[in-house]
Protein backbone atom coordinates (compact mmCIF):
# COMPACT_ATOMS: atom_id res chain seq x y z
CA UNK A 1 0.00 0.00 0.00
CA UNK A 2 1.27 3.50 -0.79
CA UNK A 3 2.05 6.04 1.92
CA UNK A 4 -0.96 8.07 0.81
CA UNK A 5 -3.20 5.01 1.07
CA UNK A 6 -1.84 4.04 4.50
CA UNK A 7 -2.45 7.58 5.80
CA UNK A 8 -6.02 7.54 4.46
CA UNK A 9 -6.70 4.17 6.10
CA UNK A 10 -5.24 5.34 9.41
CA UNK A 11 -7.35 8.52 9.33
CA UNK A 12 -10.48 6.49 8.51
CA UNK A 13 -9.75 4.08 11.38
CA UNK A 14 -9.33 6.97 13.87
CA UNK A 15 -12.56 8.50 12.57
CA UNK A 16 -14.40 5.17 12.95
CA UNK A 17 -13.29 4.89 16.58
CA UNK A 18 -14.03 8.52 17.47
CA UNK A 19 -17.31 8.96 15.55
CA UNK A 20 -19.74 7.24 17.97
CA UNK A 21 -18.78 9.58 20.81
CA UNK A 22 -20.36 12.41 18.83
CA UNK A 23 -23.50 10.52 17.82
CA UNK A 24 -26.91 9.82 19.35
CA UNK A 25 -28.07 6.19 19.78
CA UNK A 26 -29.72 6.08 16.34
CA UNK A 27 -26.51 7.37 14.76
CA UNK A 28 -24.56 4.65 16.58
CA UNK A 29 -27.09 2.08 15.35
CA UNK A 30 -26.49 3.27 11.77
CA UNK A 31 -22.73 3.06 11.95
CA UNK A 32 -23.04 -0.36 13.60
CA UNK A 33 -25.19 -1.38 10.63
CA UNK A 34 -22.45 0.00 8.36
CA UNK A 35 -19.81 -2.14 10.12
CA UNK A 36 -22.00 -5.28 9.96
CA UNK A 37 -23.05 -4.90 6.32
CA UNK A 38 -19.50 -3.99 5.26
CA UNK A 39 -18.49 -7.54 6.24
CA UNK A 40 -21.13 -8.97 3.88
CA UNK A 41 -20.08 -6.52 1.15
CA UNK A 42 -16.41 -7.59 1.55
CA UNK A 43 -17.57 -11.15 0.93
CA UNK A 44 -19.49 -10.15 -2.17
CA UNK A 45 -16.55 -8.07 -3.39
CA UNK A 46 -14.39 -11.18 -3.12
CA UNK A 47 -16.85 -13.27 -5.14
CA UNK A 48 -17.80 -10.60 -7.67
CA UNK A 49 -15.08 -7.95 -7.67
CA UNK A 50 -12.05 -10.22 -7.48
CA UNK A 51 -13.18 -13.61 -8.79
CA UNK A 52 -15.71 -12.18 -11.27
CA UNK A 53 -18.61 -14.46 -10.25
CA UNK A 54 -21.90 -12.55 -10.31
CA UNK A 55 -23.93 -13.30 -7.21
CA UNK A 56 -27.34 -12.05 -6.13
CA UNK A 57 -27.36 -14.41 -3.17
CA UNK A 58 -25.37 -12.47 -0.59
CA UNK A 59 -28.52 -11.21 1.17
CA UNK A 60 -29.67 -14.81 1.54
CA UNK A 61 -26.39 -15.71 3.24
CA UNK A 62 -26.81 -12.79 5.63
CA UNK A 63 -30.25 -14.27 6.38
CA UNK A 64 -28.91 -17.79 6.90
CA UNK A 65 -26.25 -16.40 9.24
CA UNK A 66 -28.78 -14.30 11.16
CA UNK A 67 -31.23 -17.18 11.61
CA UNK A 68 -28.41 -19.55 12.60
CA UNK A 69 -27.34 -17.09 15.28
CA UNK A 70 -30.89 -16.44 16.51
CA UNK A 71 -31.90 -20.11 16.64
CA UNK A 72 -28.71 -21.33 18.30
CA UNK A 73 -28.76 -18.55 20.89
CA UNK A 74 -32.41 -19.30 21.62
CA UNK A 75 -31.41 -22.93 22.10
CA UNK A 76 -28.89 -21.81 24.69
CA UNK A 77 -25.67 -22.09 22.73
CA UNK A 78 -22.99 -19.46 23.39
CA UNK A 79 -22.53 -16.57 20.95
CA UNK A 80 -19.05 -17.68 19.87
CA UNK A 81 -20.23 -21.12 18.87
CA UNK A 82 -23.26 -19.73 17.02
CA UNK A 83 -21.01 -17.21 15.23
CA UNK A 84 -18.64 -19.95 14.03
CA UNK A 85 -21.57 -22.21 13.08
CA UNK A 86 -23.06 -19.41 10.94
CA UNK A 87 -19.75 -19.00 9.10
CA UNK A 88 -19.25 -22.73 8.54
CA UNK A 89 -22.84 -23.34 7.42
CA UNK A 90 -22.68 -20.50 4.89
CA UNK A 91 -19.26 -21.71 3.70
CA UNK A 92 -20.76 -25.16 3.00
CA UNK A 93 -23.88 -23.81 1.28
CA UNK A 94 -21.78 -21.28 -0.67
CA UNK A 95 -19.54 -24.12 -1.86
CA UNK A 96 -22.58 -26.00 -3.16
CA UNK A 97 -23.99 -22.84 -4.76
CA UNK A 98 -20.65 -22.41 -6.50
CA UNK A 99 -21.23 -25.54 -8.62
CA UNK A 100 -23.62 -23.81 -11.05
CA UNK A 101 -20.92 -21.17 -11.51
CA UNK A 102 -18.74 -23.89 -13.03
CA UNK A 103 -21.28 -24.22 -15.85
CA UNK A 104 -22.92 -20.81 -16.25
CA UNK A 105 -21.56 -17.29 -16.13
CA UNK A 106 -22.60 -13.63 -16.06
CA UNK A 107 -26.35 -12.93 -16.18
CA UNK A 108 -27.16 -16.65 -16.26
CA UNK A 109 -25.29 -17.08 -13.00
CA UNK A 110 -27.05 -13.99 -11.64
CA UNK A 111 -30.37 -15.73 -12.25
CA UNK A 112 -29.19 -18.93 -10.57
CA UNK A 113 -28.20 -16.99 -7.46
CA UNK A 114 -31.36 -14.91 -7.63
CA UNK A 115 -33.39 -18.11 -7.60
CA UNK A 116 -31.39 -19.27 -4.57
CA UNK A 117 -32.24 -16.03 -2.72
CA UNK A 118 -35.93 -16.57 -3.46
CA UNK A 119 -35.65 -20.16 -2.28
CA UNK A 120 -34.07 -19.12 1.02
CA UNK A 121 -36.73 -16.45 1.51
CA UNK A 122 -39.48 -19.03 0.96
CA UNK A 123 -37.90 -21.47 3.40
CA UNK A 124 -37.57 -18.74 6.05
CA UNK A 125 -41.19 -17.71 5.51
CA UNK A 126 -42.86 -21.10 5.14
CA UNK A 127 -40.97 -23.38 7.52
CA UNK A 128 -42.63 -21.98 10.62
CA UNK A 129 -41.63 -24.92 12.84
CA UNK A 130 -38.03 -23.74 12.48
CA UNK A 131 -38.07 -20.02 11.70
CA UNK A 132 -41.43 -18.87 13.15
CA UNK A 133 -42.42 -17.79 9.63
CA UNK A 134 -43.58 -14.25 9.00
CA UNK A 135 -43.62 -13.51 12.75
CA UNK A 136 -39.86 -13.70 12.82
CA UNK A 137 -37.66 -14.17 15.88
CA UNK A 138 -37.71 -11.57 18.61
CA UNK A 139 -35.53 -10.67 21.56
CA UNK A 140 -32.18 -11.86 20.20
CA UNK A 141 -29.69 -11.19 22.96
CA UNK A 142 -26.44 -9.32 22.49
CA UNK A 143 -23.39 -11.20 23.71
CA UNK A 144 -21.20 -10.56 26.73
CA UNK A 145 -17.51 -11.43 26.97
CA UNK A 146 -15.83 -11.89 30.36
CA UNK A 147 -18.31 -9.57 32.00
CA UNK A 148 -18.19 -6.96 29.21
CA UNK A 149 -21.70 -6.70 27.80
CA UNK A 150 -22.35 -5.48 24.28
CA UNK A 151 -25.93 -4.62 25.25
CA UNK A 152 -25.27 -0.89 25.05
CA UNK A 153 -25.23 0.53 21.49
CA UNK A 154 -21.72 1.94 21.90
CA UNK A 155 -20.34 -1.39 23.11
CA UNK A 156 -22.01 -3.31 20.30
CA UNK A 157 -20.61 -0.84 17.78
CA UNK A 158 -17.06 -1.39 19.03
CA UNK A 159 -17.62 -5.14 19.02
CA UNK A 160 -18.84 -4.97 15.40
CA UNK A 161 -15.97 -2.68 14.44
CA UNK A 162 -13.42 -5.05 15.99
CA UNK A 163 -14.96 -8.01 14.15
CA UNK A 164 -14.88 -6.01 10.92
CA UNK A 165 -11.19 -5.18 11.54
CA UNK A 166 -10.26 -8.83 12.13
CA UNK A 167 -12.19 -10.16 9.13
CA UNK A 168 -10.86 -7.34 6.90
CA UNK A 169 -7.30 -8.15 7.93
CA UNK A 170 -7.87 -11.85 7.17
CA UNK A 171 -9.33 -10.99 3.74
CA UNK A 172 -6.45 -8.59 3.06
CA UNK A 173 -4.00 -11.36 3.89
CA UNK A 174 -5.76 -13.78 1.58
CA UNK A 175 -5.91 -11.31 -1.31
CA UNK A 176 -2.21 -10.54 -0.92
CA UNK A 177 -1.41 -14.25 -1.09
CA UNK A 178 -1.25 -16.26 -4.33
CA UNK A 179 -4.98 -16.89 -3.86
CA UNK A 180 -5.73 -13.23 -4.52
CA UNK A 181 -3.76 -13.40 -7.76
CA UNK A 182 -5.60 -16.60 -8.69
CA UNK A 183 -9.00 -14.99 -8.06
CA UNK A 184 -8.09 -12.07 -10.35
CA UNK A 185 -6.89 -14.55 -12.99
CA UNK A 186 -10.22 -16.34 -12.71
CA UNK A 187 -12.04 -13.11 -13.42
CA UNK A 188 -9.78 -11.86 -16.21
CA UNK A 189 -9.08 -14.98 -18.21
CA UNK A 190 -10.17 -18.37 -16.86
CA UNK A 191 -8.96 -20.28 -19.95
CA UNK A 192 -5.44 -18.91 -19.63
CA UNK A 193 -5.56 -19.45 -15.86
CA UNK A 194 -6.43 -23.11 -16.45
CA UNK A 195 -3.52 -23.50 -18.86
CA UNK A 196 -1.18 -22.13 -16.17
CA UNK A 197 -2.15 -24.90 -13.77
CA UNK A 198 -4.79 -23.05 -11.76
CA UNK A 199 -7.56 -25.40 -10.74
CA UNK A 200 -10.24 -22.90 -11.72
CA UNK A 201 -12.97 -25.22 -10.44
CA UNK A 202 -11.57 -25.25 -6.92
CA UNK A 203 -10.81 -21.51 -6.89
CA UNK A 204 -14.33 -20.70 -8.15
CA UNK A 205 -15.90 -22.81 -5.41
CA UNK A 206 -13.55 -21.30 -2.85
CA UNK A 207 -14.42 -17.74 -3.93
CA UNK A 208 -18.11 -18.53 -3.55
CA UNK A 209 -17.67 -20.32 -0.24
CA UNK A 210 -15.49 -17.68 1.43
CA UNK A 211 -17.64 -14.83 0.14
CA UNK A 212 -20.78 -16.60 1.40
CA UNK A 213 -19.13 -17.33 4.72
CA UNK A 214 -18.45 -13.61 5.22
CA UNK A 215 -22.12 -13.01 4.41
CA UNK A 216 -23.06 -15.54 7.11
CA UNK A 217 -20.77 -13.92 9.69
CA UNK A 218 -22.29 -10.55 8.85
CA UNK A 219 -25.74 -12.04 9.45
CA UNK A 220 -24.57 -13.46 12.77
CA UNK A 221 -23.86 -9.88 13.88
CA UNK A 222 -26.95 -8.47 12.17
CA UNK A 223 -29.31 -10.56 14.34
CA UNK A 224 -28.08 -9.25 17.75
CA UNK A 225 -27.76 -5.74 16.31
CA UNK A 226 -31.43 -5.42 15.28
CA UNK A 227 -32.61 -8.00 17.87
CA UNK A 228 -35.55 -8.95 15.67
CA UNK A 229 -35.35 -10.75 12.34
CA UNK A 230 -37.99 -11.76 9.85
CA UNK A 231 -37.78 -13.27 6.34
CA UNK A 232 -38.60 -9.97 4.60
CA UNK A 233 -35.27 -8.49 5.74
CA UNK A 234 -33.34 -11.05 3.67
CA UNK A 235 -35.33 -11.00 0.44
CA UNK A 236 -33.94 -9.74 -2.86
CA UNK A 237 -33.78 -6.15 -1.60
CA UNK A 238 -30.91 -7.03 0.75
CA UNK A 239 -28.94 -8.75 -2.03
CA UNK A 240 -29.42 -5.79 -4.36
CA UNK A 241 -28.40 -3.41 -1.60
CA UNK A 242 -25.18 -5.35 -1.00
CA UNK A 243 -24.52 -5.41 -4.74
CA UNK A 244 -25.03 -1.66 -4.77
CA UNK A 245 -22.46 -1.28 -1.97
CA UNK A 246 -19.84 -3.19 -3.96
CA UNK A 247 -20.51 -1.42 -7.25
CA UNK A 248 -20.84 2.10 -5.82
CA UNK A 249 -17.74 1.72 -3.65
CA UNK A 250 -15.67 0.21 -6.44
CA UNK A 251 -15.82 -3.45 -7.43
CA UNK A 252 -12.41 -5.11 -7.19
CA UNK A 253 -11.01 -2.41 -4.85
CA UNK A 254 -10.29 -3.71 -1.38
CA UNK A 255 -11.78 -0.65 0.33
CA UNK A 256 -14.68 -0.38 -2.12
CA UNK A 257 -17.19 -2.16 0.18
CA UNK A 258 -16.30 0.13 3.10
CA UNK A 259 -17.13 3.21 1.03
CA UNK A 260 -20.10 1.58 -0.71
CA UNK A 261 -21.67 0.49 2.59
CA UNK A 262 -21.21 4.01 3.92
CA UNK A 263 -23.18 5.35 0.95
CA UNK A 264 -25.88 2.65 1.03
CA UNK A 265 -26.47 2.82 4.80
CA UNK A 266 -25.98 6.51 5.55
CA UNK A 267 -27.00 8.34 2.37
CA UNK A 268 -30.71 7.38 2.56
CA UNK A 269 -30.78 8.64 6.15
CA UNK A 270 -29.12 11.93 5.24
CA UNK A 271 -31.61 12.28 2.40
CA UNK A 272 -34.46 12.24 4.91
CA UNK A 273 -34.27 16.03 4.97
CA UNK A 274 -36.13 15.80 1.65
CA UNK A 275 -38.89 14.04 3.61
CA UNK A 276 -41.15 11.89 1.39
CA UNK A 277 -38.78 12.23 -1.56
CA UNK A 278 -35.73 10.81 0.16
CA UNK A 279 -35.70 7.47 -1.64
CA UNK A 280 -36.33 9.17 -5.01
CA UNK A 281 -33.40 11.53 -4.40
CA UNK A 282 -31.24 8.64 -3.22
CA UNK A 283 -32.05 6.59 -6.33
CA UNK A 284 -31.32 9.58 -8.59
CA UNK A 285 -27.97 10.19 -6.86
CA UNK A 286 -26.99 6.54 -7.33
CA UNK A 287 -27.90 6.73 -11.04
CA UNK A 288 -25.83 9.89 -11.53
CA UNK A 289 -22.94 8.30 -9.65
CA UNK A 290 -23.02 5.21 -11.89
CA UNK A 291 -23.12 7.31 -15.06
CA UNK A 292 -20.13 9.44 -14.09
CA UNK A 293 -18.08 6.86 -12.22
CA UNK A 294 -18.95 3.33 -13.35
CA UNK A 295 -15.84 2.04 -11.60
CA UNK A 296 -17.27 3.30 -8.31
CA UNK A 297 -16.18 6.04 -5.95
CA UNK A 298 -12.70 4.60 -5.46
CA UNK A 299 -12.33 4.29 -9.23
CA UNK A 300 -13.22 7.97 -9.53
CA UNK A 301 -10.74 8.95 -6.80
CA UNK A 302 -8.05 6.92 -8.55
CA UNK A 303 -8.76 8.68 -11.84
CA UNK A 304 -8.55 12.08 -10.18
CA UNK A 305 -5.29 11.20 -8.41
CA UNK A 306 -3.81 9.87 -11.65
CA UNK A 307 -4.69 13.09 -13.45
CA UNK A 308 -3.22 15.12 -10.60
CA UNK A 309 0.03 13.14 -10.59
CA UNK A 310 0.34 12.67 -14.34
CA UNK A 311 2.60 15.70 -14.90
CA UNK A 312 6.01 14.26 -15.57
CA UNK A 313 5.28 10.82 -14.17
CA UNK A 314 5.05 7.54 -16.02
CA UNK A 315 2.48 4.86 -15.37
CA UNK A 316 5.21 2.84 -13.65
CA UNK A 317 5.87 5.66 -11.20
CA UNK A 318 2.15 5.98 -10.55
CA UNK A 319 1.87 2.28 -9.91
CA UNK A 320 4.83 2.38 -7.56
CA UNK A 321 2.94 5.01 -5.58
CA UNK A 322 -0.06 2.73 -5.38
CA UNK A 323 -2.11 4.74 -7.86
CA UNK A 324 -2.35 1.98 -10.42
CA UNK A 325 -5.39 -0.30 -10.36
CA UNK A 326 -5.45 -1.82 -6.92
CA UNK A 327 -6.80 -5.18 -7.91
CA UNK A 328 -4.48 -7.17 -5.71
CA UNK A 329 -3.82 -4.97 -2.67
Amino acid sequence: MSRLGATAVMAAAIFAVAAPFFLKPFGIFLISMWAVLTIAAIGLNLTLGYAGQVSLAQGAFVGIGAYTMALLMQAGYPFGLAFIAAGILCFAIGWILGYPALRVQHHYLAFVTLAFTTLVFLVLRNEEWLTNGIYGINGIARPAFLGWSTGRPLNFYFFSLATLAVLSAATWWMLRSPWGRAFVALRENPIRALSLGLDTRRYTLMAFAIGSSLGGLSGALYAPLVQFIDPGSFALGMSFNLLLMVIVGGSGYFFGPFVGALVAVLLPEWMRITQGYYLIVYAALVMVMMVFCPSGILGLIERILKMAFRNGKTATALHAEGLGPEIVP
Binding site: P178, V184, A185, A193, L194, G197, R202, T316
Partner: protein
Protein backbone atom coordinates in the same frame (compact mmCIF):
# COMPACT_ATOMS: atom_id res chain seq x y z
CA UNK B 1 16.40 -39.56 -27.22
CA UNK B 2 13.01 -40.42 -25.74
CA UNK B 3 9.78 -38.88 -27.01
CA UNK B 4 8.38 -36.13 -24.81
CA UNK B 5 5.14 -35.96 -26.81
CA UNK B 6 3.55 -38.79 -28.77
CA UNK B 7 0.33 -38.28 -30.70
CA UNK B 8 -1.25 -41.38 -32.25
CA UNK B 9 -4.05 -41.38 -34.80
CA UNK B 10 -5.76 -38.34 -33.29
CA UNK B 11 -9.18 -37.43 -34.68
CA UNK B 12 -11.48 -34.52 -33.92
CA UNK B 13 -14.64 -33.66 -35.86
CA UNK B 14 -17.07 -30.76 -35.59
CA UNK B 15 -20.35 -32.03 -37.02
CA UNK B 16 -19.45 -33.52 -40.38
CA UNK B 17 -16.11 -31.69 -40.66
CA UNK B 18 -13.00 -33.64 -39.68
CA UNK B 19 -10.71 -30.88 -38.36
CA UNK B 20 -8.03 -33.38 -37.33
CA UNK B 21 -8.12 -36.64 -39.22
CA UNK B 22 -5.80 -39.36 -37.95
CA UNK B 23 -2.73 -37.28 -37.09
CA UNK B 24 0.30 -39.06 -35.63
CA UNK B 25 3.67 -37.59 -34.73
CA UNK B 26 6.17 -37.44 -31.90
CA UNK B 27 8.51 -34.83 -30.44
CA UNK B 28 11.83 -35.86 -28.96
CA UNK B 29 13.45 -34.27 -25.92
CA UNK B 30 15.20 -31.00 -26.76
CA UNK B 31 13.61 -30.77 -30.21
CA UNK B 32 11.82 -27.75 -31.70
CA UNK B 33 9.05 -29.01 -33.93
CA UNK B 34 7.30 -26.55 -36.23
CA UNK B 35 3.75 -27.24 -37.39
CA UNK B 36 2.71 -25.37 -40.50
CA UNK B 37 -0.26 -25.51 -42.81
CA UNK B 38 -2.90 -23.33 -44.43
CA UNK B 39 -5.71 -21.76 -42.40
CA UNK B 40 -8.26 -24.41 -41.44
CA UNK B 41 -5.77 -27.26 -41.73
CA UNK B 42 -6.39 -28.27 -38.10
CA UNK B 43 -3.25 -26.91 -36.39
CA UNK B 44 -4.99 -25.12 -33.51
CA UNK B 45 -7.53 -27.94 -33.09
CA UNK B 46 -4.62 -30.35 -32.84
CA UNK B 47 -3.03 -28.16 -30.16
CA UNK B 48 -6.30 -27.91 -28.28
CA UNK B 49 -6.72 -31.70 -28.33
CA UNK B 50 -3.16 -32.25 -27.10
CA UNK B 51 -3.62 -29.62 -24.37
CA UNK B 52 -6.97 -30.80 -23.02
CA UNK B 53 -8.99 -27.81 -24.26
CA UNK B 54 -10.87 -30.17 -26.59
CA UNK B 55 -11.65 -33.85 -26.16
CA UNK B 56 -10.59 -35.83 -29.26
CA UNK B 57 -13.04 -38.28 -30.85
CA UNK B 58 -10.32 -40.90 -31.18
CA UNK B 59 -6.61 -41.41 -30.79
CA UNK B 60 -4.15 -41.04 -27.99
CA UNK B 61 -1.80 -38.42 -26.56
CA UNK B 62 1.17 -39.39 -24.40
CA UNK B 63 3.40 -36.97 -22.58
CA UNK B 64 6.66 -38.31 -21.23
CA UNK B 65 5.22 -41.81 -21.66
CA UNK B 66 2.05 -41.09 -19.68
CA UNK B 67 -1.36 -41.26 -21.38
CA UNK B 68 -2.87 -37.78 -21.09
CA UNK B 69 -5.78 -37.90 -23.56
CA UNK B 70 -8.69 -35.92 -22.12
CA UNK B 71 -6.79 -34.62 -19.10
CA UNK B 72 -7.69 -31.11 -17.92
CA UNK B 73 -5.31 -28.30 -18.95
CA UNK B 74 -4.44 -27.52 -15.33
CA UNK B 75 -3.45 -31.14 -14.69
CA UNK B 76 -1.36 -31.15 -17.88
CA UNK B 77 0.36 -27.99 -16.71
CA UNK B 78 1.21 -29.70 -13.45
CA UNK B 79 2.80 -32.50 -15.53
CA UNK B 80 5.07 -29.86 -17.10
CA UNK B 81 3.16 -28.89 -20.24
CA UNK B 82 2.91 -25.20 -20.94
CA UNK B 83 1.45 -23.19 -23.79
CA UNK B 84 0.81 -19.83 -25.38
CA UNK B 85 -2.33 -18.95 -27.32
CA UNK B 86 -2.85 -17.61 -30.82
CA UNK B 87 -4.54 -14.51 -29.39
CA UNK B 88 -2.88 -12.63 -26.55
CA UNK B 89 -3.67 -14.12 -23.17
CA UNK B 90 -2.00 -12.09 -20.45
CA UNK B 91 -3.80 -10.78 -17.36
CA UNK B 92 -4.12 -7.07 -18.17
CA UNK B 93 -4.85 -5.79 -14.66
CA UNK B 94 -1.88 -7.56 -13.08
CA UNK B 95 1.66 -6.21 -13.29
CA UNK B 96 4.25 -7.92 -15.49
CA UNK B 97 5.84 -9.38 -12.36
CA UNK B 98 2.52 -10.66 -11.00
CA UNK B 99 1.70 -12.24 -14.37
CA UNK B 100 4.93 -14.22 -14.13
CA UNK B 101 4.48 -15.18 -10.49
CA UNK B 102 0.95 -16.34 -11.31
CA UNK B 103 2.33 -18.45 -14.14
CA UNK B 104 4.48 -20.41 -11.71
CA UNK B 105 2.68 -20.26 -8.36
CA UNK B 106 0.54 -23.38 -8.76
CA UNK B 107 3.73 -25.45 -8.84
CA UNK B 108 4.71 -24.20 -5.38
CA UNK B 109 3.38 -26.37 -2.55
CA UNK B 110 -0.27 -27.13 -1.88
CA UNK B 111 -3.21 -24.77 -2.24
CA UNK B 112 -3.38 -24.31 1.54
CA UNK B 113 0.36 -23.68 1.92
CA UNK B 114 0.11 -20.98 -0.75
CA UNK B 115 -2.56 -19.25 1.34
CA UNK B 116 -0.42 -19.00 4.45
CA UNK B 117 2.92 -18.72 2.68
CA UNK B 118 4.72 -15.81 1.06
CA UNK B 119 2.79 -13.34 -1.09
CA UNK B 120 5.08 -14.04 -4.07
CA UNK B 121 4.96 -17.83 -3.48
CA UNK B 122 8.76 -17.71 -3.31
CA UNK B 123 8.90 -16.86 -7.02
CA UNK B 124 9.88 -13.19 -6.84
CA UNK B 125 13.51 -13.91 -7.73
CA UNK B 126 12.60 -16.32 -10.54
CA UNK B 127 10.12 -13.78 -11.96
CA UNK B 128 12.77 -11.05 -11.91
CA UNK B 129 15.25 -13.32 -13.69
CA UNK B 130 12.67 -14.19 -16.32
CA UNK B 131 11.85 -10.49 -16.77
CA UNK B 132 15.54 -9.81 -17.26
CA UNK B 133 15.94 -12.74 -19.65
CA UNK B 134 13.14 -11.40 -21.86
CA UNK B 135 14.51 -7.86 -21.43
CA UNK B 136 11.36 -6.46 -19.87
CA UNK B 137 13.06 -5.08 -16.74
CA UNK B 138 11.93 -1.51 -17.40
CA UNK B 139 8.32 -2.75 -17.35
CA UNK B 140 8.42 -4.91 -14.21
CA UNK B 141 5.70 -3.05 -12.31
CA UNK B 142 3.74 -1.91 -15.35
CA UNK B 143 0.25 -3.26 -15.84
CA UNK B 144 0.37 -5.97 -18.52
CA UNK B 145 -2.58 -4.31 -20.26
CA UNK B 146 -0.53 -1.14 -20.72
CA UNK B 147 2.23 -2.93 -22.68
CA UNK B 148 2.53 -2.81 -26.46
CA UNK B 149 1.33 -5.82 -28.45
CA UNK B 150 4.87 -7.08 -29.02
CA UNK B 151 5.80 -6.67 -25.36
CA UNK B 152 2.67 -8.59 -24.38
CA UNK B 153 3.71 -11.37 -26.77
CA UNK B 154 7.09 -11.53 -25.02
CA UNK B 155 5.38 -11.62 -21.64
CA UNK B 156 3.02 -14.33 -22.87
CA UNK B 157 6.01 -16.43 -23.95
CA UNK B 158 7.86 -15.72 -20.69
CA UNK B 159 4.82 -16.92 -18.71
CA UNK B 160 4.93 -20.24 -20.53
CA UNK B 161 8.48 -20.79 -19.25
CA UNK B 162 7.96 -19.71 -15.63
CA UNK B 163 7.29 -23.18 -14.25
CA UNK B 164 10.32 -24.73 -15.94
CA UNK B 165 8.20 -26.86 -18.29
CA UNK B 166 9.06 -30.15 -19.90
CA UNK B 167 7.23 -29.23 -23.10
CA UNK B 168 6.09 -25.84 -24.43
CA UNK B 169 3.51 -25.44 -27.17
CA UNK B 170 3.56 -22.05 -28.84
CA UNK B 171 0.54 -21.14 -30.96
CA UNK B 172 1.53 -18.52 -33.55
CA UNK B 173 3.99 -16.63 -31.33
CA UNK B 174 4.98 -14.34 -34.23
CA UNK B 175 1.42 -13.36 -35.18
CA UNK B 176 1.06 -9.57 -35.45
CA UNK B 177 4.56 -8.88 -34.13
CA UNK B 178 6.77 -6.32 -35.92
CA UNK B 179 10.07 -7.53 -37.48
CA UNK B 180 12.32 -6.10 -34.75
CA UNK B 181 10.28 -7.63 -31.96
CA UNK B 182 10.04 -10.86 -33.94
CA UNK B 183 13.83 -11.17 -34.14
CA UNK B 184 14.02 -10.44 -30.42
CA UNK B 185 11.39 -13.08 -29.65
CA UNK B 186 13.16 -15.68 -31.81
CA UNK B 187 16.51 -14.91 -30.16
CA UNK B 188 14.98 -15.29 -26.71
CA UNK B 189 13.36 -18.61 -27.62
CA UNK B 190 16.62 -19.88 -29.10
CA UNK B 191 18.56 -18.71 -26.04
CA UNK B 192 16.11 -20.43 -23.71
CA UNK B 193 16.31 -23.60 -25.78
CA UNK B 194 20.12 -23.53 -25.76
CA UNK B 195 20.24 -22.90 -22.02
CA UNK B 196 17.61 -25.39 -20.83
CA UNK B 197 17.43 -27.90 -23.70
CA UNK B 198 13.68 -27.29 -23.62
CA UNK B 199 11.29 -29.04 -26.00
CA UNK B 200 9.04 -26.82 -28.11
CA UNK B 201 6.21 -27.33 -30.56
CA UNK B 202 5.50 -24.19 -32.58
CA UNK B 203 2.54 -23.43 -34.83
CA UNK B 204 3.46 -20.57 -37.12
CA UNK B 205 2.67 -19.03 -40.51
CA UNK B 206 5.78 -16.84 -40.60
CA UNK B 207 8.03 -19.14 -42.63
CA UNK B 208 11.32 -17.35 -41.95
CA UNK B 209 10.61 -17.64 -38.23
CA UNK B 210 9.85 -21.36 -38.53
CA UNK B 211 12.88 -22.07 -40.70
CA UNK B 212 15.23 -20.21 -38.35
CA UNK B 213 13.85 -21.67 -35.12
CA UNK B 214 12.70 -25.23 -35.79
CA UNK B 215 14.77 -28.38 -36.10
CA UNK B 216 11.96 -30.32 -37.77
CA UNK B 217 8.73 -29.32 -39.51
CA UNK B 218 5.37 -31.06 -39.81
CA UNK B 219 2.95 -29.91 -42.51
CA UNK B 220 -0.81 -30.27 -42.07
CA UNK B 221 -3.50 -29.89 -44.72
CA UNK B 222 -7.19 -30.68 -44.32
CA UNK B 223 -6.56 -32.31 -40.95
CA UNK B 224 -3.87 -34.73 -42.18
CA UNK B 225 -0.06 -34.76 -42.10
CA UNK B 226 1.14 -34.29 -45.69
CA UNK B 227 4.87 -33.95 -45.04
CA UNK B 228 7.45 -34.08 -42.29
CA UNK B 229 11.17 -33.37 -42.28
CA UNK B 230 14.01 -30.91 -41.88
CA UNK B 231 13.12 -27.26 -42.67
CA UNK B 232 15.18 -27.06 -45.89
CA UNK B 233 13.62 -30.29 -47.19
CA UNK B 234 10.11 -29.06 -46.43
CA UNK B 235 10.80 -25.85 -48.32
CA UNK B 236 11.59 -27.85 -51.47
CA UNK B 237 8.88 -30.48 -51.04
CA UNK B 238 6.54 -30.24 -54.10
CA UNK B 239 3.50 -31.45 -52.13
CA UNK B 240 4.02 -28.73 -49.54
CA UNK B 241 4.62 -26.12 -52.20
CA UNK B 242 1.37 -27.03 -53.90
CA UNK B 243 -0.71 -27.27 -50.73
CA UNK B 244 0.73 -24.40 -48.71
CA UNK B 245 3.81 -22.49 -49.72
CA UNK B 246 2.56 -21.84 -53.25
CA UNK B 247 5.89 -20.92 -54.82
Amino acid sequence: MSAVLEVSNLRKSFGGVAAVNGVSFHVREGEILGIIGPNGSGKSTLFNCVLGQLLPNAGEVRIDGKRTTGMRPCDLNCLGVSRTFQLLQVFPQLSVRDNLILAGQEHQGSMFSRLIGRADAGLGGAADRMIEFFRLSHLTNERAGALSYGQQKLLDAAMAFMAGPLLVLLDEPAGGVNPTMLTHLRERLQAYHAERKATFVVIEHQMEFVMALCTRVLVLAEGCVIAEGAPHDIRRNPIVIEAYLGH
